[in-house]
Symmetry: C2
């Protein structure tokens, strides 16, 4: 592999340019901005750089860019990534153009550079380097690059039904991954699920002078009262039945938590906070992060929110809620429980709009692909990885992998302050180059796994 590493070093400026080019193309799925252009660009990149056979596989939403390198070899490894990004607002908190991909102090700043374009391009670059050194791949490779991850992978079910053979693989390298604050690589073996909803409460059919508030219902107050029945200040989610399916971590998983690095002091300092929720620390803090579901207000809006004092009685109030789920919670069931809860508490009038639902997923730690990855991290990074039993984040791992019996392992080029979904999203150039080397290493080693 030394030749591949050397090739990557010699061509790193080119690989950085590939990434910048993709980051400069906006692809905000939630706002339908630049999606077609990005899909075309990604198709072209796969084709030019890896000579894979590429197709845009249509669904009712944005297409999946699908690439395949058929070597006739025994094993198949798939790479799952996404080419869409989160909206870039609030714009005023960015220190450079979110779609400028500016490099400052060894970091590339762009919306989507960590989530998920850095990983997507690193994997293409790894295959490119491998091909240029060895002339051919030691395994079959599949690229499954979707365009709706940030809006809940809403059409992957349809994709799966339409193109079942495209998903078949002996293992899948999942889309994301980060370094710990101490610089060690983190390998993740699962994801939380999610149910994302919006609640809408309506009052009068028009905003009124707030003097009317003495006798006319205020939907903002009703929404506040409804919300406070959902979760109390001990962080207990009060929806009846919400915790019924939650699996507690087993002993081996609790042991992993002991080893798991979560730099409390540094995190608090970076975020300018005095303490974590409920003053948690140590293993209980990590257990909550990894193994417990959440109910989060992602956004709330009603009435006048501009400068100064406007005396208005709002006609509508809206809140966006995200529930992160753990095995074996079921997203569709959560929506039903929420509806029942609101009805039971006198909020039959509050409308629920369901945006996305995703099941949680976990890969068996003893799986050969998992072991291949874990055993080879040190070659590239000089230190063994830490294991994250399940990511606090979410993705369609259940439908793409777990349901089909495909092991999924997640590792990538982010760091602990990459600020995914937030202003000044970034990755380190060095992590990006190491990520390319690591992917090439996995391809190489996975070919031989289970052979000696």
């Amino acid at each position: 592999m030394d030749k591949v590493y050397q090739y990557i070093e010699e061509n790193k400026d080119m690989y950085i340019k590939w990434l910048q080019e993709l980051c400069r193309q906006p692809s905000v799925a939630a706002q339908n901005r630049g999606m077609k252009e990005t899909a075309d660009m990604v198709q072209k990149m796969i084709s030019e750089h890896t000579h894979a056979k590429v197709e845009l596989l249509e669904t009712s939403g944005y297409p999946v860019v699908y690439g395949e390198i058929n070597t006739g070899k025994e094993k198949t490894l798939s790479f799952y990534n996404h080419y869409d990004v989160q909206p870039e607002d609030p714009l005023d908190l960015w220190n450079s153009d979110p779609f400028g991909a500016e490099i400052r102090d060894g970091k590339i700043y762009a919306r989507g550079v960590a989530d998920n374009k850095g990983n997507l391009v690193a994997r293409l670059a790894a295959v490119h380097a491998y091909l240029n050194v060895y002339g051919e791949m030691p395994i079959n490779v599949k690229f499954i690059f979707e365009g709706e991850e940030e809006i809940g992978s809403v059409h992957l079910d349809e994709f799966k039904e339409k193109y079942p053979e495209k998903l078949k693989a002996d293992g899948c390298i999942w889309e994301f991954g980060y370094k710990n604050p101490d610089g060690r690589l983190q390998v993740s073996l699962g994801v939380k699920g999610m149910q994302y909803v919006e609640l809408r409460c309506k009052g009068a059919n028009i905003d009124l002078h707030s003097a009317n508030a003495a006798v006319i219902e205020n939907p903002a107050w009703r929404l506040v009262w409804a919300l406070q029945t959902l979760k109390n200040d001990k962080e207990e989610i009060l929806i009846e039945g919400f915790y019924d399916r939650v699996l507690k971590p087993d002993e081996a998983e609790l042991e992993l938590l002991e080893e798991m690095i979560y730099e409390e002091e540094a995190t608090l300092k970076r975020l300018d906070l005095d303490n974590f929720l409920l003053n948690l620390t140590g293993v209980p803090l990590k257990e909550k992060l990894i193994f417990q579901p959440t109910c989060t207000i992602c956004g709330i809006e009603s009435g006048y929110t501009g400068e100064g004092a406007k005396t208005v009685l709002p006609s509508e109030a809206r809140v966006k809620l995200d529930f992160r789920l753990v095995p074996n919670q079921d997203p569709a069931e959560i929506s039903k429980l929420l509806r029942n809860h609101l009805d039971k508490h006198g909020f039959e009038d509050i409308e629920i709009i369901t945006f996305t639902g995703e099941h949680p997923a976990k890969t068996d730690i003893h799986d050969p692909l998992v072991q291949t990855v874990l055993q080879n991290v040190e070659k590239v990074y000089g230190r063994p990885p830490t294991i994250n039993r399940m990511s606090p984040g979410t993705g369609p791992m259940y439908i793409l992998c777990q349901e089909l019996g495909i092991p999924a392992v997640s590792l990538g080029v982010g760091n602990d302050s990459s600020q995914n979904h937030a202003p000044n999203e970034n990755i380190k150039v060095e992590d990006y180059i190491q990520g390319i080397k690591m992917m090439a290493t996995i391809v190489h080693e996975f070919a031989h796994t289970g052979k000696d």
Copy 2:
């Protein structure tokens, strides 16, 4: 007075043009839009149309446009109005330009036409007509037109201290007034007070990926929990001491409620509502509207509020609250009670920004100016007025009048669907012309009050 009425009829197109001209000049105090231009325009209008001596009296805020007609007569009547308006958003709900002053189906539509430019110009027009018919005024007249009513009359204290002699009068015609749904004129004899505040709750110093919500505090949740300690769903305000100074209505006032017109069915239909707050109806409904204080969410905002699903953990949450106060509540004290309440409930970190404070005020119903107005309404409107003991709205009546022993009476050109502070604000052209006649009548009759 018939000659005056006839003069007004003959010149009504001109008076409508004066009003349109003023409405077409934006004057949004909260956003500092067009304030200087409007003050200049109002100064010019007073001077040209009434020959009063006019000055722009400076304060630390927007100037008071002050006009004085000195006849050497015994009595002085002042007119209090304001030339500023509320912000016009949400723009998409207007059916015509908020600053277009378009006339459709006998109504003039414009931001500020009801609140308060229609009344301001009607009073100038009344003096203009009176002068043109009689050649001189039967009393001294003062115009006190401020520019900060919609942001809480924040510098009237300063104005009062700087120019105490400008406020002296035997009576004051207050700025607003409406017709009941049945077409009868409503005369108001007081205003609620107000304390307007913004609460700000901060979490991490930056918006985060919502996966972090398992362990990082969410300021939107904290704000929800804080708010629900302020008022429960029985509309009881839970701030300790909030009701201590509230005076209950006396028997005469309760009797006025019996006569007071509040068209429940029509209001519910117009607002597309099934019922009023707490299913109130009849006298208890009117008692709540007139004699009870409020705590209103005028606006709330946190996190992502755009289209689609953004999984963000917000770094800040803000809410705007307006407390309408009744005699003898004190706005400054309300802020202190609120601070104590939040501290006591564990919300020491929530910041309170105080925008405005105004005392409630009530005029003695037996006062001669009040009686003059009440007895002469029928001359213009053909029917006697109804009495609103105290308006659910707010204004600086306490500092401009009550504290100085000046009786204040409020009547004007609005109607029950004028939509003050809301989209499609409007008045009827007919009400505007009647309002001009009524003001001329008051000037005429007040000169003789107490003389026979």
